[in-house]
């Protein structure tokens, strides 16, 4: 069973066209407060967690097959070379195949000690950031735009690795801003660091 969670503070009406287009038979849930990101320690999308029949995490949050090839995009046309596009598709296909192997054979599930090692570490700053994020979204929903934005900015300051917080805040300021010049500047500032850490699956195509 797939549970797809939209980390989208604009809520149901904004998300609906995407969900309808997917014609999904699995659950498509809407998470305006980014509660799932907070619960599982996720700082970007797409992130996936594998949960077994007993409700146990057998793969903690990891990139759901996305790669960093988008970073080579032409900044003007926002297009990728055919080679980069193919490599990106290969990453996604590999990940979906790994999920299918898990479902049919149990492959790629981690034992508890290996799973525990890969858990995110939540710091006091991150916990406080989520509280500011919650208040910021609520205040904006209730018309206190400027004050809400202040709390969202504080959330990003406390948890600078969270692309979810920064990009959601940018999107609330104006649709599209999450992928605007500010975003690309932040991506560039990563330098050699990954935007999407590749999933730790043997053979995952990274080039």
């Amino acid at each position: 069973m797939v549970v797809a969670v939209a980390e989208d503070s604009r809520g149901e009406s904004h998300v609906r066209p995407w969900v309808e287009q997917a014609k999904a038979e699995y659950w498509c849930l809407i998470d305006p407060d980014h509660r799932v990101a907070s619960l599982y320690g996720m700082s970007n999308v797409p992130r996936a967690v594998w949960i077994d029949e007993d409700g146990r995490i057998v793969r903690p949050p990891e990139t759901a097959g996305s790669t960093d090839h988008f970073r080579n995009m032409d900044p003007v046309t926002l297009t990728m070379t055919p080679a980069d596009q193919a490599a990106r598709d290969a990453g996604k296909a590999f990940y979906v195949d790994a999920v299918k192997q898990w479902v049919t054979t149990g492959r790629h599930a981690l034992d508890p000690s290996a799973a525990r090692e890969k858990l995110p570490r939540i710091t006091a700053e991150i916990a406080l950031a989520h509280a500011h994020f919650r208040l910021g979204v609520w205040l904006r929903q209730h018309g206190a735009i400027e004050e809400g934005s202040r709390h969202l900015a504080e959330a990003s300051r406390l948890h600078p690795e969270s692309w979810n917080m920064w990009r959601q805040s940018a999107d609330l300021e104006a649709v599209g801003r999450a992928a605007g010049p500010g975003f690309w500047a932040r991506v560039q500032a990563l330098g050699d660091k990954p935007y999407h850490q590749p999933p730790d699956l043997p053979g995952f195509p990274t080039t």
């Binding site: 797809a4 989208d8 498509c28 858990l119 206190a144």
Partner: protein
């Protein structure tokens, strides 16, 4: 009336002087119950400083800070967030039981993760932004 936001809920309560709540309200919001030995949850009790309890009311802000959990409020002090602390979050994950949640789908139907026990679940996040 004062609004209190927790991780998954929103409460409207009568608060005085910041976040002083009647014992019943503080139990409802925090999950901790006022007893003679302090604030208690399951078999665990945390002593409250004498300055944080008076006439059956609890200074939830002071209690929450004592636990090391985030608590903050809007400028008008009418809306508060009583957040989950890092220790609780890490302890929850370390047990490897998938943290449970309920969220609505696009039709407004509430869906609860733990209702899928017995099935393998791929929990995946995405966004429009």
């Amino acid at each position: 009336m004062t609004t209190i936001l927790t991780e998954s809920d929103e409460f409207t309560v009568e608060a005085t002087n910041g976040l002083w709540l009647a014992a019943a309200d503080s139990a409802r919001v925090t999950g901790w119950t006022l007893k003679p030995e302090g604030m208690c949850r399951d078999d665990q009790c945390v002593p409250l400083p004498s300055t944080a309890v008076r006439a059956g009311r609890v200074d939830v802000e002071a209690f929450w800070r004592r636990l090391g959990n985030p608590v903050l409020c809007a400028d008008d002090r009418q809306t508060w967030v009583v957040g989950t602390g890092a220790d609780d979050r890490n302890a929850g994950l370390a047990g490897l039981m998938a943290p449970d949640f309920s969220l609505r789908d696009q039709s407004g139907t509430p869906r609860t993760l733990s209702d899928l026990r017995g099935k393998k679940v791929l929990l995946v996040t995405w966004a429009t932004w």
